[in-house]
């Protein structure tokens, strides 16, 4: 086990897979010489050379279109979209093309590609560089959607995403890049679509993703220490596939669920999880399902305003106390 940052874990996973499979190539803006604007690919150019680690012009449509074409022609490409907001620039290729091609070729064409992207808020990047867009991706049939919170999961899940035969959108939370955690040495792969129960409690199940995971854990500690409330924390890690089994099992045990989402409220992933829980577990619930989200607004760049909008531990504590007390 090594202590790595989240951003180092990104590079470690790509290096692991590039060593293993010469068909894995990596392309994106400022990823080679600069090692990525978030320094998530430091060392890759040096180790794998400019043929496999390619700086592109500023051409998001061509980057993803080429990623798709290369994946259909024997490569296993990883593309980087620097800020996930800029998926909007090239969404045709993702939503209309990558997601549909397997089905529209009767299953004969496979698209083993990954699109990595810096996602989410908390870093003062303003309304057009801070969006948590995993729910855009979740809404499109044919895509897999992964969003890890912990450096170890970054390595294992990114490796799995690269090996996966389908297009995977891999959302890295920008405000987590500097966080550190245990990352297993050597080859490490985690199956996609398995949620992780980070903490077991008896009163309430908090379901979270990405940046909201550390905040949910902090809230759980506070609830325990200050209010005698015992909370389970589930890190979904992946939205498609969604580990409904773990969600249902963990909510059934406590009888209460609070989802914590970074995305703006309307049609966030928590709404989907809530509807599943409502349908499947209605008679086991001891209280209403509660969603804690960013309000339905664009994020501000100013720190005080951004902090006021994103769910934090205090808000989670408050929501849980209203539900449990």
């Amino acid at each position: 086990m090594a202590q790595l940052t989240y951003r180092e874990a990104v590079a470690a996973a790509m290096a692991q897979e590039m060593r293993r499979d010469p068909n894995v190539v990596f392309l994106g803006e400022d990823i080679a010489a600069a090692g990525g604007v978030f320094k998530t690919s430091v060392g890759l150019l040096e180790e794998f050379g400019a043929d496999r680690v390619r700086d592109t012009p500023i051409s998001e449509q061509a980057i993803l279109g080429a990623t798709m074409g290369a994946a259909m022609t024997g490569l296993r490409p990883i593309a980087e979209i620097m800020f996930s907001d800029f998926f909007a620039v090239c969404w045709d290729i993702v939503a209309n093309e990558m997601a549909k091609t397997r089905y529209m070729t009767d299953g004969q064409v496979t698209l083993p590609l990954v699109i990595r992207s810096g996602n989410g808020g908390g870093s003062r990047f303003g309304a057009q560089h801070s969006q948590a867009v995993e729910n855009w991706a979740m809404a499109v049939p044919g895509l897999k959607v992964v969003a890890p919170a912990l450096p170890g999961d970054v390595k294992g899940l990114l490796a799995a995403a690269i090996r996966d035969p389908d297009p995977v959108l891999f959302f890295e939370q920008k405000s987590l890049y500097a966080t550190k955690g245990e990352v297993p040495d050597g080859e490490y792969v985690i199956e996609l679509g398995k949620a992780n129960v980070l903490r077991s409690g008896t009163d309430v199940t908090i379901v979270a993703l990405a940046l909201m995971v550390p905040r949910a854990l902090k809230a759980a500690e506070q609830l325990e220490a200050e209010h005698g409330i015992s909370a389970t924390v589930v890190d979904l890690r992946s939205l498609v596939p969604l580990d409904t089994q773990t969600i249902l099992a963990e909510v059934a045990k406590t009888g209460r669920m609070v989802t914590v989402e970074e995305n703006p409220r309307l049609c966030g992933w928590g709404a989907e999880v809530s509807s599943i829980v409502a349908e499947e577990l209605f008679w086991d619930l001891d209280g209403p399902i509660v969603r804690v989200t960013t309000p339905h607004i664009p994020l501000a760049a100013a720190d005080s305003m951004e902090d006021a909008m994103l769910p934090n531990a205090d808000r989670i504590v408050q929501a849980v106390r209203q539900l449990v007390d």
């Binding site: 012009p57 500023i58 800029f86 309000p295």
Partner: protein, 365 residues
């Protein structure tokens, strides 16, 4: 075989790096006062950049993109525009914005994350800074369409970087501008770098100006460190566009002497020697040399001007720092013309939470 199309790209300059006139100067450039005015805007822009970086380094401004070395592009193009024209800037055109009448305080507010900074007190029709690279090219097409339909004698001026010319929306915009013959001028500030990607890796085309050829619009290059030729070329292009004859793309050759932004460290990907060489051609020193040689610009005049610019920037920075932040609920108030009923509850909940936090409940991120 027959040749069905042929093109050439002309590159213009007026004043070289030593301050010498290398072509017949346009009328305005014979006027000492006009040259001093252009000079003052460039010096002010540089002083502004310096101050902004200091504010960022001391935690009082967000990430900031300096225009160091490219002042002649923004100042030259904005000085050529009429008040009723519309500027659609990239994030590096502080000089252009200042000349257009956006205040230094507003620019600081913008980079400080305060959206009031895009509510310009001066040029009300100018567009806010465009963050998704190249998107302003398409907006400019729309603005130009509005001018054309209303028969207004106005021109839209979009400023983009060299990297922006690799984007699909850039090509699409040039194409529509040509097909519809719209009153629009595209200025490409080719500063040789797009974050870490050098111009040579951006495209195999010999010039960026020639991208105009495929769209059937005028394309030319100018020395973008020569404020006189920038002003002249943009002025001619505006005239042409205003008469409804043809849209234009001007590639201004300059150099990004700074890091990409305050979070970038260009030494990771770019040699210091390259940067030092480009300092020899920067725009302010050359105009100063020209002013000294041709117009008897004195040391006293120089120091007075530098002092005045510093004072102006100081005043703006002080005012910016004295401003209290906007209350968070303004995000709700400004996201829709009127807040949909279904979102009113969320606004109320947010206000209640903030009130709780103020009342001393534990407070952290």
């Amino acid at each position: 075989m027959s040749i069905v199309a042929k093109f050439q790209i002309e590159c213009f300059s007026c004043i070289d790096a030593d301050g010498h006139a290398v072509a017949e100067l346009p009328e305005f450039a014979l006027d000492r006062d006009v040259l001093i005015e252009l000079y003052r805007w460039m010096v002010l822009t540089r002083a502004f950049d310096e101050r902004a970086i200091t504010l960022q380094r001391t935690g009082r401004l967000g990430t900031y993109a300096s225009s160091l070395g490219q002042e002649a592009v923004g100042v030259g193009l904005a000085h050529a525009m009429l008040a009723e024209d519309v500027l659609l800037p990239s994030f590096r055109e502080h000089g252009a914005q200042l000349v257009r009448g956006v205040t230094a305080g507003e620019i600081l507010q913008f980079w400080g994350g305060d959206e009031r900074g895009s509510d310009f007190s001066g040029p009300r029709s100018d567009f806010p800074v465009s963050i998704p690279v190249a998107s302003q090219a398409a907006h400019a097409v729309g603005a130009a369409l509005a001018f054309k339909l209303s028969k207004a004698q106005r021109v839209a001026v979009a400023v983009l970087g060299d990297g922006a010319t690799s984007k699909g929306d850039f090509y699409e915009s040039l194409n529509i501008a040509g097909a519809w013959n719209l009153p629009v001028v595209f200025v490409v500030a080719n500063n040789q770098w797009a974050i870490s990607v050098p111009r040579a890796d951006q495209t195999a085309a010999a010039t960026l100006a020639q991208k105009a050829v495929a769209a059937g619009i005028t394309g030319l290059q100018v020395d973008g460190n020569d404020v006189v030729v920038v002003r002249k070329a943009v002025s001619d292009a505006l005239e042409q566009a205003r008469n409804g004859s043809r849209p234009c793309l001007i590639e201004a050759l300059t150099y990004r002497l700074s890091d990409h932004t305050t979070v970038d460290d260009a030494s990771r990907y770019r040699d210091d020697e390259e940067v030092s060489a480009h300092w020899q051609a920067e725009p302010i020193a050359r105009l100063r040399k020209h002013l000294i040689a041709v117009h008897g610009w004195t040391k006293e005049e120089e120091s007075d001007l530098v002092e005045l610019c510093a004072a102006e920037v100081d005043e703006s920075a002080d005012a910016y720092l004295a401003e209290s932040p906007q209350p968070p609920e303004t995000i709700f108030d400004y996201t829709y013309a009127s807040l949909p009923q279904s979102l009113v509850k969320q606004r109320g909940e947010l206000l209640a939470l903030l009130k709780d936090a103020d009342n001393g409940t534990e407070h952290e991120q």
